[in-house]
Symmetry: C2
Subunit: 296 residues, 2 copies
């Protein structure tokens, strides 16, 4: 049970977490803080937070769980601002997409990694932003990767994991660097590809979009994501992302060569291999989604 939850940045993720914990009856009071009062007022009007403060330290005071859901670029400033209000018994966590950043920001703001810090990342979201887009079931059945450092207080780790499970998610633990490498591949790269694709199509003949089918629509959905968040992710997970972009560019170059040469055998082999992987992935996700339906 969380007596007082402090959500810093009450948008899609922070708002959905508060809603999910209320749904679970796992939270006493929810306090919000943000740089924008209009957002906070809206969150209170929607019943997502009970009270709000513009000063993060005031919001944090008396909270036993503090979750930072701001863009990655604001993390260090947020930590500095929270510092005076942090209770000794509080657990401090976040929902950012790059986990090494959280340690860098904490070291800069606190002068060390505080034992209460347990970075985490819910693998969930939509292309919409803001508290109006938040909903209680966002994390149901999704994974949350928790990346405690060596300094972390085991009790704080347990409490953060328990919170996410109460919100409907499954939790996994791993090192921050490994998280950042995996996410560069399965999340950061696809988002950047979607931005590049939309931008490239927009630069083409005027009415191209008129002829876009479902594949393009699905593919480009994530290009509607928040640009500031994605800029920050690129800046924070720079090396892993640049490496993935290079690897992708190399493969695109290879493929262009196969197409130019008319190497049907190589193209078929690539496409068939990718289809096999994708079909297996979908089958596995579906199996996981409804274990009770399946015999054996």
């Amino acid at each position: 049970m969380i007596e007082r939850l402090c959500v810093v940045g009450v948008g899609l993720i922070g708002g959905s977490l508060a809603r999910a914990l209320r749904r679970a009856g796992m939270v006493g009071e929810v306090v919000g803080t943000s740089r924008r009062e209009a957002h906070l007022r809206r969150a209170r009007d929607l019943g997502v937070v009970d009270r709000y403060f513009l000063d993060p330290a005031e919001a944090a005071r008396g909270a036993d769980m503090i979750v930072v859901c701001t863009p990655m670029g604001a993390m260090e400033d947020v930590f500095r601002a929270l510092h005076p209000g942090l209770d000794p018994g509080a657990a401090l966590t976040d929902a950012g997409s790059v986990k090494q950043t959280v340690f860098r920001a904490a070291r800069a703001a606190f002068g060390r990694i505080p034992p209460c810090l347990v970075p985490a990342h819910p693998i969930a979201g939509t292309e919409h932003s803001g508290v109006d887009a938040s909903f209680a079931s966002l994390f149901d059945g999704r994974r949350v990767i928790v990346t405690p450092g060596d300094e972390a207080d085991p009790a704080a780790v347990d409490r953060v994991e328990a919170m996410w499970r109460a919100a409907g998610a499954e939790t996994d633990r791993m090192e921050a660097a490994r998280h950042d490498e995996i996410l560069a591949s399965v999340s950061h790269l696809p988002h950047l590809l979607a931005y590049v694709l939309v931008d490239l199509v927009a630069a083409g003949p005027g009415d191209c979009f008129r002829y876009a089918a479902g594949g393009f629509r699905d593919f480009s959905r994530i290009a509607s994501s928040d640009p500031v968040m994605w800029r920050d992710i690129c800046l924070e997970n720079r090396e892993a992302i640049a490496e993935r972009l290079d690897a992708f560019g190399d493969r695109i170059g290879e493929l262009a060569g196969m197409v130019r040469r008319g190497d049907g055998g190589a193209l078929l082999e690539r496409f068939a291999r990718a289809k096999g992987v994708r079909d297996a992935y979908v089958e596995e996700s579906e199996r996981r989604a409804r274990p009770a339906d399946r015999p054996g």
Copy 2:
């Protein structure tokens, strides 16, 4: 009204067209042909075709509308095989993804472009293949691009367009070369990116897929498409696709540079521009999808 429709290749597209025309009461009899008898039997058992023939010429005989729905690579052979059965009054069309190919195949098979030939391309599909995946509403509200050559009989063009409208689609006319350039951008490129992405992620750490979220799932859906069809599209629309892959590769290189340099301003500008385009595209599609709901 089509008295006798001949569908060559009764899979997702051919099967859905037959179903849609039956739904509209626009077709007397549906005759199927394919190289695989098992597929034809299945199509007959499902009521998608009334009769079938293994010989395309026999299937075409007496048909007033012949629609070729085979992979692009089979088009020339199919035209040759249909030739002896073509009635003088029949319209001959197809549903292939590359339109210049249809003219090349027709010239090779018939020695000229027959006036009955009206190539067309429904911008619709799913990642599934085969007649079991076909359904009557596949083309509802979708666009079909019709690319008649200068030789085309205007009556045949009208009949092909009327057929697609009866199947629920809207039709547009343009030149084959323009079609192929637009589709390279909005359809062929995204499919290839999906294949490359899935293949790249599969080559990474073993459990990457475990952490893939909705963005990846949407993005990679089209990687489950038929590899033979996509090999053929690559071979048939070679230049336009290679050009788009090069352009995409260049932009990926630029983006990798921005990420490495930590050029937040340039990244934000790119992402915001793409989001603007994508949001406008979605708004426009939604406006088109429900015109009656909107004032003005």
